[in-house]
Each structure stands twice: as C-alpha cells, then as structure tokens.
Amino acid sequence: MLLEQLNAPFEMNQDQKQQVLFAELLALTDHHQAHCFYYQNLVENIFVQKHFKQNEDLPFLPAQIFKYLPLKSIREEEVFRVLNSSGTTGQQPSQIFLDKAAATHQAKVLSSIVTNFIGKKRLPMLIVDHPSAVKSAGMTARAAAILGFSSFGAQHTYLLSDEDLSLQVAALQAFLEKFPQQPILMFGFTFMIWAYLYEYCQKNNIFLDLSQVILVHGGGWKKLANLNIGKETFKQCLAAQFNLTKVHDYYGMVEQIGTIFMECEFGKMHIPFFADVLIRDPIHFQALGVNQTGLIQVLSILPKSYPGHSILTEDLGKITEIDECLCGRKGKVIEIHGRLPKAEARGCSDTHQR
C-alpha cells in the first residue's frame, strides 16, 4: 500500500486516509508491544483501555521519552543508524534507532514529499551552513536533515565558512553565474537563513538576485520568535532583499524522521498521506477540532524500528483546513505555533546555578 502511494503523497482525502492509517497504526501498536519491552510496559501501565476504535484512542508517547530511554523494536545487531537530536544545550539528546529497512524507507518517503513540491529533477543545490556541520561525530538531527535534503540536489555548495560562519559571497556569485536562469535549490535552517544570509547581506550591502532559487527551510521559529520575527516578516524580507519568493517552510522532528510537513505555494503546511496530526488540549489531552489550538500529536506509519508512530510533541499548533487547499493537496493543513512555554522551576533548587 505504502509504496504504491509514494508518487502521490497528497491525493487521498482525509476520510479515506483515516481508515487506512488507523489499521496500520493499530498494527504498529501491536508490533511495538511485541518487540519493545519499554513500549509494552508503557502501554500496559498507562493506557489501560485496550479497545482502540480510532486514531485518537491509540496510545501516544511524550516526545521527551526518547531522551531518557533507548526505545527500539529491533535487536541490537540490527541497528543500522542511531539519530541524535541536538536538543537544548545541557539536555540529553533523543536517540532514534533505525535498521536498514527503516533508513531506506525514510529516505524514499522524504523524497516523495519533497519532490512533490520542488519537482523530480535534481537541481543545483546551495546549503546555507558550513561544510563541517555534517562531519561531526555521531549523527545529529542537523546533519541528518542536510544530508537527507542533499539527495534532491546536485553540485552541492556550502555557503558558510567553517571558521566563523561568514557568507562566502564570491562562491555564491560564482554558483549563480554558473547556473543562470534555471531553478536552484537552497536548503538551510530558518534561523541560519535569517542571520547568516539575510542579515549578513543586508548589513554589508550585498545585493543578490535569488529569484531563481527555491528555498526549503526548517528547524523551528523559536530563535526568530525571540527576535519578534514572524513568518510573514521573514518572507517579506527575503522577497525585498533577494527577490526570493519561492519559500517552503517545513516541520519535522528527529523522532519521526522522513515524515515532514511542508508548505505549499499558498503558504499552507500539508500532511502527507502516511502521517496524520491530532491536536490535543494541553491540560486534559482530549482531541480538539479544526481551528482549536493545542499540543500537536504526530502519527505516522513509518516508524517500525522504534515505537515512534504516535508521539505527543511539546509544540503548539492547530489544524486550519481539511482537503480544501487551493493547491489541490488533500488532507489536513496545519499551522505551527512553536514550543509550549516552559515555566520556571522552583523549590530548593541550586544555589549556584547560572
């Protein structure tokens, strides 16, 4: 079922999709209970009700659990790759275990989503990062994203220097001259695009025409939100400075690598057919309806090597429409509002904390 649909990740309407997904997700819940000891305990000790009728009845895990426990449904010797989230500094990173099949699957699925937005042809590619970002020991989420997206491009050129992350203007200009009047793929983290490309050019009066560029960016808005820069400002600034208008934000997490939600040409973020999103009330966790803001729960039929098929994130968002986007893509459209605000810790805490 999965592979047949890979060429058309946004064709199935929500009703149809929900039924197909539920059967698969239910099977995965059984699969992980049978193969992951921690998951089995967790379901038995928390989700006492065994009768699951729809997606919202299925057990879900808190996203942070992957930081604390090595959850996997494969044997040690089958582990092919371990992904680590960067996480907040000082915190333990999440650990995601993939076997060979999962790794291949994830790559294929990612490809089916991304090519749906940027086309199948591999484009010359600019990466707004420094080359050694992908060379550090262990697989970070950042490296995984860069490498994952790199397969959609060719002639990869990193735009930032290893020394001080300064923009390599000459290299960028040479690249643009080499590929005139044809689409170019540009990839980077939202904050890095802002700080190291946009702000750098703006401050140093560097004028570039990037109208041929298709920008794919992700990684969250937290840092920009702190600077009071929203999605609209971001887009307007890029358009004004570079004439760069083809911009696709995406939302994804290391816990569900492969499944990303990507912004279409109408600025709507779409959920592919093999995944779904539920919005839950942050206090009581009951599922909410369209246009109600709450915690984002991501469901995906991909995670088979680790029990990540149903995860309650700490991100807030809402579903804004279903099957209605003008771009023709079916399924839910989601708006991401960023991380749940954390309350300050109290109590006999440390005298000497910074």
């Binding site: 928390i46 659990i65 206090i283 009581h284 605000p341 109290r346 109590g347 805490s349 005298t351 000497h352």
Partner: protein, 412 residues
C-alpha cells in the same frame, strides 16, 4: 561582586578581611542585640498589611518573634555536660538557595544568635520576598542606631558563579554552610576551606508522607477535622510546586486494601479541591501536564509504577511497588505522587533510605513513629501534617546552633 548589605569600600577583598577582624570582644552582648534586631524585623513585617499575602514571610516573622528566639536559644545554646560552653566559631559563610526566598534569613538568624560573623551569598535569581527582606534589613540597620554595629560583622553579597570569589571567601571562613542542590554542593565543596573550618551541606533530598487509612476514614466523618488535615497536606506538598526538599512526593498508605481505597476516595478529591483554590497555577500552567505525563511515561516504561486514575488527573497518581534511587531522583514535583500500600511498620522502616529527609505522618502514635525512626537507616524528621516546610534549626540531621558553635570544655 556586589555588596548588598554591609560595610563597603572600593575593595571588597579588604572589606572581607576587615569583617573577619571585627572585634567581637563584647560578644556577650551580641546575642541580646541579635534578638532585639530580629524581633524588630519581625515587627516590621507584621506591621505592613501588604505582606499578609506572603505566607512564607509571615511564617518567618512569626519565627523571628522574641518569644520564639529566646525559647530556641534556651533550648539549643546550652549543653548538658558539666563545665562545657558553646561559643561562636568565627566567620560563617552561607551559600543560600535561590528559590526559597526566606531561607537566607533563617540561616543568618542562627549565625547571628550564635554570635558569629557572617557573610551570605544571595542568589541573583531571588524573588520578591527576598527583596522585601533585604530592604527591611537595610532600613533597620541604617536607621536604628542601636543595630548599626551589626553591619561591622555581617555582609550580604551577590555574584555570578565565580570560583575565584568563592575561593577567596572560603579561605577566610570558619564554617561554611551550603544550602541546597547536589550540583551546588559539589561545585562549592571542591573549593577548599581552612583546615580547621567545618562545613554543613544540604544536598537534594526526598520526602514522603504516611497515612493510617482507618484514622483518615474516621476523621472523614467530621468535616472540619478532615479539612484541617487536607490543608496541612496541601501546604506541605504544593508550596514551591512540590519541588521543595521537604514536600512529600510519595504516600505510604497503611492499612488493608479496602480501607486504603476508602481513605483515598476521601483524600484525593478534597486535596484537588483545595489545590484549585490555593495553588491554581499547578492546574492551569500549560506546560505542566505534559511534563507530568513524560515523567509517568518513563516510570511506566521501566515498569516501576502504573497509573492510578487517568493521565490528566490532578494530582497524577502512580502506584509503585518500591522506591528505588531512580524514582527518588527523577520525580519532577508539579503534583505527582507515588503511592504504595503497606501493612506493617517494619516495612515502612525498611523503605526509608539515607536520601530521605522528612516523613509527614497522620494517624500514628509517638511510639509507633519512634519505632520507625529507630529501625530506619534514613529519615531526618518525622512531623505531623502541615509541618513539612516549617523551618527548624534541627535540619537534615544537623543542629545548626551547634554546627555554628565551638564546644568549649573548662575544668579547673
């Protein structure tokens, strides 16, 4: 490095040396002066109706009453052995906690009452109540001439984590007191103090609560008695979002299954109702439920406990079979409880570990509690409901009056 209170010149290191050399030769008068000063502080607090909204401040003021201080001194600054006397050790260096705003003043008060010189490092993350206290101390010491001399031998400082400053202060102290947090204790402890100096440290601790089920069922028939008990428990558990070391995080129910169930059914709804009234933030803060759920998920995944009730219940209740070190250290506060049922006092005693500090209890006799204390290898205080957070100079196994004093033997 900033001197918040005390004599200051342009050179803080000189100020420290000067403080250390301050003549305390008239030290026999120091204690009465300290009592007068602390009592004056107490009155200033009670005088201002604005302060009634800070129960921790009012509790401190109550503790600082002359009547209480005299009683404490009478009880603790005496020795039972003949011809022995308690005298000040010298300079006490206090590292005070960041988020329990009144703690620095309790620590200082004992330093003053024992006749020592004191330097207090205050956290720069201190809250409103600590600021009020600082303002009041500053006002009294500068405007009432009878207390001015206190400034000669006491100093409050504030500085960002800095090992050089800590080392300088430490090399001049005779007693070092480190309040709160394993990380702080370890960070400061490796900075040396003089060979003769002593140290009192307050590490992370775990606290529990023990309820005799049939006694609770009995009082549940009487409305006002149950509500007094619930109030005590709610104050014990939910101040500081249940993150205070003395706040109970586990509940040991004592009795047979049916009675315990009955007691729980009286207990939890009443607790929830009062928390809604007193500590609504615990129920409405958006990030807390998912934090509680994450904690539950971890405990459940390791099969150390199972959910009682529903995942969005407040408090979040987890039935545990035993309490290992992991369960003790991972508990996030925020309204989560481990619960277990036990039907013999010996099993209570064997459950308690060295990390355990306070056991609040309801329904047990003094002799039953004595037995537990004698059999257990941990637990520093067993107190009734409502008393978990009450400050006492007997804390974490120390008598702070004695920690800050030399025991002098005089035989002719």
């Amino acid at each position: 490095m900033k001197i918040l209170l005390g004599k200051k010149s342009s050179d803080w290191q000189k100020d420290v040396v000067q403080l250390r050399q301050a003549s305390l030769s008239v030290s026999s008068n120091i204690m009465p002066l300290a009592i007068e000063f602390l009592n004056a502080l107490s009155q200033e607090i009670f005088k201002n109706p604005e302060y009634k909204k800070y129960p921790d401040l009012i509790s401190l003021a109550f503790w600082l009453r002359k009547a209480n201080l005299l009683a404490l001194v009478k009880q603790h600054l005496v020795t039972s052995a003949p011809n022995t006397y308690l005298r000040p050790r010298g300079l006490v260096l206090h590292f005070t906690p960041s988020n329990v705003d009144t703690m620095f003043l309790y620590s200082w008060a004992i330093g003053l009452l024992t006749g020592n010189q004191n330097i207090l490092r205050l956290s720069n993350r201190r809250g409103r109540v600590a600021e009020i206290l600082l303002e009041l101390c500053d006002y009294l010491l500068k405007n009432a001439s009878e207390y001015a001399s206190i400034l000669n031998y006491n100093m409050f400082v504030e500085y960002e984590h800095n090992e050089h400053v800590t080392a300088y202060l430490s090399q001049h102290c005779d007693v070092r007191v480190i309040w709160g947090g394993d990380t702080s204790v370890q960070a400061i402890r490796h900075v040396p103090i003089p060979a003769h100096a002593v140290e009192a440290v307050f590490a992370n601790r775990f606290s529990l609560c023990m309820i005799k089920a049939d006694a609770l069922v009995e009082v549940s028939q009487q409305d006002n008695r149950l509500s007094a008990i619930i109030e005590g428990f709610v104050n014990d558990a939910f101040w500081f979002d249940q993150q205070g070391c003395s706040s109970p995080r586990a509940i040991i129910w004592f009795g047979d299954e049916a009675t315990v169930l009955q007691a729980q059914n009286y207990f939890w709804p009443a607790v929830r109702q009062l928390v809604e009234e007193r500590f609504p933030d615990l129920l409405t803060t958006l990030s807390y439920p998912v934090q509680r759920f994450t904690f539950l998920a971890k405990v459940a995944a390791e099969n150390k406990g199972r959910l009682l009730g529903k995942i969005d219940d407040f408090p979040l209740r987890i039935e545990a079979q035993s309490l290992d070190a992991g369960l003790r250290s991972e508990h996030p506060g925020l309204g989560c409880f481990y619960e277990m049922r036990i039907d013999s006092l010996t099993s209570v005693a064997s459950l308690l570990q060295r990390k355990d500090q306070t056991l609040t209890s309801f329904g047990f006799s003094q002799s039953e509690l004595n037995d537990i204390a004698m059999q257990a290898c941990g637990i520093d205080r067993i107190v009734p409901f409502g008393k978990a957070l009450a400050f006492s100079p007997l804390w974490d196994g120390y008598n702070l009056f004695h920690t800050m004093s030399r025991l002098v033997v005089v035989e002719s």
